[in-house]
Amino acid sequence: MCVFQSTINYFPEEVLEHVFDFLSSHRDRNAVSLVCKSWCRVERFSREKVFVGNCYAVSPERLLSTFPRVRSLTLKGKPHFADFNLVPPDWGGYLHPWIDAMVKARANLEELRLKRMVLSDDTLDLLAHSFPSFKSLVLVSCEGFTTDGLAAIAANCRSLRELDLQENEVEDRRGQWLSCFPDSCTSLVSLNFACLKGEVNLAALERLVARCPNLRSLRLNHAVPLDALQRILAQAPHLVDLGTGSFVHDPDSETYHKLKNAIQNCTSIRSLSGFLEVASRCLPSIYPLCSSLTSLNLSYAPGIYSNELVNLIRHCKKLERLWILDTIGDKGLGVVASTCKELQELRVFPFDPHGVGYTAVTEEGLVAVSAGCPKLNSILYFCQQMTNAALITVAKNCPNFIRFRLCTLNPTVPDAVTQLPLDEGFGAIVQSCKGLKRLSVSGLLTDQVFLYIGMYAEQLEMLSIAFAGESDKGMLYVLNGCKKLKKLEIRDSPFGDVALLADMGKYETMRSLWMSSCEVTLEACKKLAMKMPRLNVEIINENEQMEASTDDKQKVEKMYLYRTLVGPRKDAPAFVWTL
């Protein structure tokens, strides 16, 4: 059959396909498909998992004709800065055309993972009725649907294993969506509804848990009280990942006593989160879990006071991932440093950045953790202040950072001791951390920091810049230096046309570029759009006068450009102008 193929091809296609089966990463599969035409063809027809980093880079129809056997689809919609209210509602990122196309193509969809997409109840309903083998729905930061849509999924997806809702905006319709799981549904492995605001039918929840013996991950919302948790845990002692709902009760009560027993039976729990409402006095009940925890997320639990938090963490010697609020303080981070020797990822979120009489964390906490946790490779750190000396120390202590995101609560704060910009500190980070893939900078920064980034950050794929730099040179250093850059997002920085237009071809090697409140003019954007037909250059303009005005010299408020195979999108709202 492939006798007449090029002599490179020693193997029949079935063997190639079998070999490609071992490649799970989409990057590896992409690389394989570039080797030669026949490999490309074999790979295409055997690929089951497809990752689309920008839903507007390709059309659903085209995707389906390229990968006809797709069973698992990951889609990302809105730009990252949409998380911070920088993108107006109705910008786009709709799921419907994708489901529609897959229904028409009779695709055998089993898994759908979405991030920052907009989906309606009708779309969920269509999804639920169209794919009999549908197993897994993961929605992160999505919106547009209600609990009625969830009810449709629950009622109709007979083989559902996973329903994972993370940080979505879901309208509560006071229906009984949980009750819509039929009695015949026993296949659930993972259920996460922590982000839902409304009440759930507790009896239905308990029955569901009781009949799903494979349930390993369960994250409840705030409406599930502690007594229900106790009954649930009694039915599901094999849980590996637990997110509690409300964790408030009288510690003298029998319910609490039963909870303690139930928790002691849950010897498989490795990941703990929730505590959306919490009475600190109830926390000792979870101490038995702490010694085996590898992941702990208390970042939605503002009710845990600092000393209680610290007491808890002292028990968690095997922690690899910790998400907390900055109420932990520098001292608390010192305890993390001395206790959590296996720590790989730390995220410290701000509790109340505009509050009074409240100390966040400073550079001290970060230095302590970097010194105490040699395996640290990923950090997100919101802090009151920072110094170059601290960052230099951190860089020395932890050369293995893959993700380094620092956010000073005041975006342009200088070095707290020397009052100098933080260029040297971040410079040390990029120089030391040769594997750095993601970086967010903040604080007072000149063009110098971008010189360092361009020079040293060879593996950098994503860079976030806010209120930084002095001139076009800054942006140019980055565009010229970072060969692997995929996503660049910039706000409130003095980068303009010269930087934007210096290397237009670069943008075709990247997924996207976001620039808002910078110095870029309409004229430059038009020029770029004209020269680069395979880029969509979108201007977001909430002020209606822009299109009417003929002044090309005016500055553009928000620009989002991305490479695409399919030209300007047809679903852009009135305030989005594709040049």
Partner: protein
């Protein structure tokens, strides 16, 4: 903006932390970009000579900063406490106990109001208002198991340590030197 040494800065209305050491730059409405605004003010004030960005942007005027997703904002920010701190309240002479959420009160006077709602018919009003003449004394049990007079410590310290409340008959408080004037009213500023 603070221009010269007339000391008028202290009377100036600003946004930001009280007594905080920041130089606040007011962003005028109608202007588009925070950055160019700040550059202007920098030149006007002739402050530090290095970077234009050394003027500190007031945190609460910047859209989308700090970069925290809206879902998280709703839950954590603005000191929004989602905790509940229910404690038992007993009153000598009342046939049953009640429970009250301390986290839902902002200060001692709130507590007083709510206790009155629960036990008003038993004369708690006098106990809290005019403690000298009242036959009741409000006390609470703290984490160490000691019974303390209500109102001595700042509110936030109180709610962290209070386990239960009791409105005790004065006649039971033999031998305890109580100075009721310090309770509930006139305590130093809460939190």
């Amino acid at each position: 903006m603070a221009k010269d040494g007339l000391g008028l800065e202290i009377t100036e209305l600003r946004l930001g932390l009280p007594g905080g050491g920041f130089d606040q730059v007011m962003l005028k409405t109608g202007k588009k970009r925070a950055f160019s605004e700040i550059e202007e003010d920098h030149h006007q004030n002739g402050k530090r000579s290095n970077e234009a960005k050394s003027e500190i942007i007031p945190k609460n005027q910047v859209v989308g900063w700090p970069p925290v997703c809206s879902h998280r904002r709703k839950i954590s920010f603005n000191g929004q406490e989602s905790t509940k701190l229910y404690v038992k309240v007993s009153m000598d002479g009342a046939p049953f106990l009640r429970k009250i959420d301390l986290a839902a009160q902002k200060c001692y006077s709130d507590l007083q109001l709510n206790l009155e709602r629960l036990f008003g018919c038993y004369g708690i009003g006098e106990a809290l208002n005019d403690a000298d003449s009242s036959e009741f004394v409000p006390i609470y049990e703290d984490k160490d198991g000691d019974w303390m007079l209500l109102g001595d410590v700042p509110w936030t310290m109180f709610i962290e340590s209070c386990i239960r409340l009791r409105i005790m008959k004065r006649t039971d408080a033999k031998g305890i030197g109580i100075h009721p004037k310090s309770s509930l009213k006139g305590t130093s500023r809460d939190g």
